[in-house]
């Protein structure tokens, strides 16, 4: 049961750290209130938080893959915005919205959620629904869906999830 305590402690550390940042690290009374509030939130959410059996340990290689993922994702976010801005500001919006399915290769819940969010924030695509291993995606133009299949951040997400592969 050691793993369980590590997970709860790290949840507590995240909440308490957030509190400290928002309280700008002062004064001491804030620290006590923050610790109490973090503990209360954990008790309140004890059923809905991810439990140890759902969490795969983060490996150093997984952590390393996170930063290139973030960089590529930020680049995609910029391109997405410029492209959507061009569509919105064009005189006759040349769009052909449609639904597509996307068979995603990831297994863990956290990686899947990250992928769904990343898809929503990349050019012309939006995650609508999820069914087993398939994501239903709404795309503004057909080529946006094709771009998604060759998106670079997918490879990094895979590396983050399966460090032994």
């Amino acid at each position: 049961m050691r793993g369980k305590w590590v997970v709860w402690l790290s949840y507590f550390a995240v909440l308490f750290g957030l509190w400290l940042i928002l309280a700008e690290f002062s004064p001491l009374s804030e620290w006590i209130i923050g610790a109490l509030a973090s503990a209360l939130v954990l008790v309140w959410l004890r059923r809905s938080l991810l439990l140890p059996r759902d969490i795969r340990p983060i490996t150093p290689r997984g952590l390393l893959a996170f930063f290139p993922f973030l960089m590529h994702w930020l680049k995609d976010l910029l391109i997405a915005n410029v492209e959507v801005a061009r569509i919105v500001l064009s005189k006759n919006m040349d769009i052909k919205p449609d639904f597509y399915t996307f068979d995603q290769p990831l297994k863990s819940d956290v990686a899947q959620a990250t992928l769904a969010n990343a898809i929503t924030l990349t050019p012309g695509t939006l995650t609508v629904d999820y069914d087993n291993q398939t994501l239903i995606i709404h795309s503004l133009r057909p080529h946006h869906y094709d771009d998604l299949k060759s998106a670079t951040f997918l490879a990094y997400l895979k590396a983050m999830e399966a460090p032994d592969a």
Partner: protein, 97 residues
């Protein structure tokens, strides 16, 4: 001198952020259906708020306030697509039924 550069950079970022907000708003009005509207608002909001917050961080320098702004940015970047999924999913199910 530093403050002048700071102010110029921050001002540029904030104006750019406001531009993307404006585009998101225009898209919300011009797009033909719910899904396409979600496209413009999620992306415009994400980059818009990102640029504005980064601009404010530049303005406040290396302080606790900057850290606070950064936390705000991360939380918004996680919650915006999640909210978009919820709207899209409910519209999708309404469409199907």
């Amino acid at each position: 001198m530093i403050t002048l550069i700071q102010e110029i950079v921050a001002g540029t970022l904030i104006v750019l952020g406001m531009f993307f907000f404006l585009v998101a708003l225009l898209g919300l009005l011009r797009m033909p259906d719910v899904f396409s509207r979600i496209h413009t608002t999620t992306k415009g909001d994400t980059l818009g708020i990102g640029l504005i917050i980064v601009g404010l961080m530049v303005l406040s320098g290396f302080t606790a306030l900057s850290l606070k702004l950064f936390v705000t940015l991360v939380l918004i970047w996680i919650t915006t697509p999640t909210a978009a999924h919820l709207i899209a999913k409910s519209e999708y199910e309404r469409d199907a039924s």
